[in-house]
Symmetry: C2
Subunit: 207 residues, 2 copies
DNA sequence: TTATTATTTAATAGTATTATTAATCGGATG
DNA sequence: CATCCGATTAATAATACTATTAAATAATAA
């Protein structure tokens, strides 16, 4: 038996469903199609997850949280200068996206078309800013006072960063097609953007 | 008779369909629903447009083109300095998006899930860069040579601009919900972003 | 008015989808 | 071996959707 065949059918369904939902979105992915790709009966998908909604939520609730909680990972950057720390933050955010390149589009789609699901995130989200935001903000204000950074609100800075990092991945499927990029060119372009985003943001912060 | 009732049924169908497609996407909008909102028989939608695909394409082919051809509108900026011209370009691009706030999401969705439609755009697109791109690039290089702008590739600059402008509108439905923004707060935030994007980009270009 | 054409509707074929149910299969346990 | 139970399937109900057709109605021209 194949090593990969060793997984339970339930796990395979989860994996296939995740891939298809990411590729084609919720509405365009049918449980029939999921079953076909898994190689099992369609009823089995419902046997394990009862409803399609359930299956979707099972997969993505955790992912959504992880995605919005990425900011918690920013610890142990210790005694770095604000700008060096910011560079790490931008890069780690970009890397998170790079490891889940299709998540932003899915989140933006599903959340804007099913606003119910947003409430689930709100709770998890409110906890984040208070602590870390104020810490980071203190560091930013210090850097500004020291003349190392131009005057800017932290929220604007964060929005700009998220904006630039997210956008490249949301736009990539279209850019990829229009410019007929192959896999290596695509990778190169993404790496280039990673550096360019850091550069662009840091340059914009010069006093 | 009402002034607005004066329009032909065909036009009403087009308007309703456009609104629904923008709100809910292609897959989640049914011809039945369109007909219901128009207040006519569902068969009538097919009478005028034969297929749902046809209806969608009729509405959006032109819009897609307009969207990508926005760059053509940048004429008559005459003898402005490069940075002033760039400011106008950023703002006009932002305004185009502001007038069609739901288009970016639709374009990104439909194009990434139906790559066939992209070929239609490719042709229209290839004509654009050659002429305007080289002109703009010449101006950028001059500005760099004069020490007014840091060294940067025009393509990176354009990508950064499109990125920042598009992203805010793509992300707005989610942000709006998470932060519970009302209409006026939303408008304020968008206007703020308009200024912030210009500022951010221009600041990043300082030598 | 009558004939002709355009618009609109009712009915329905055909298909796909979600979800449920009952039956079967195969392995574990006694 | 018998049986018990989770895993799986076949069959199908229920629904929704696209598209077509034929009939009805309204508008127009002759």
């Amino acid at each position: 038996m194949d090593i990969k065949t060793e997984q339970s059918t339930e796990k395979i369904i989860l994996e296939v469903a995740e891939r298809l939902f990411l590729e084609k979105g919720f509405a365009m992915t049918s449980t029939t199609e999921i079953a076909k790709e898994v190689g099992c009966n369609q009823a089995l998908v419902h046997y394990y997850f009862r409803t399609k909604d359930n299956l979707f939520n099972t997969i993505f609730e955790q992912k959504f949280k992880d995605f919005f909680q990425w900011i918690f990972e920013i610890k142990s950057t210790g005694e770095l200068e604000f700008l060096d720390k910011l560079k790490l933050i931008i890069e780690s955010h970009f890397d998170l996206l790079m490891n889940n390149p299709k998540m932003p589009a899915l989140i933006l789609n599903e959340l804007s078309r099913k606003p119910e699901q947003i409430s689930m995130l709100k709770d998890k989200l409110e906890a984040i800013p208070v602590k870390l935001f104020s810490e980071l903000n203190a560091e930013l204000q210090t850097a500004i006072a020291q003349g190392k950074v131009r005057k800017i609100d932290l929220i604007d800075l964060i929005v700009s960063m998220i904006t630039m990092n997210v956008a490249i991945f949301v736009m990539m499927p279209v850019v990829e097609n229009i410019l007929s990029l192959d896999e290596s060119k695509k990778k190169f372009m993404i790496q280039h953007r990673r550096a360019e985003n850091v550069d662009f943001i840091l340059k914009s912060l010069r006093p």
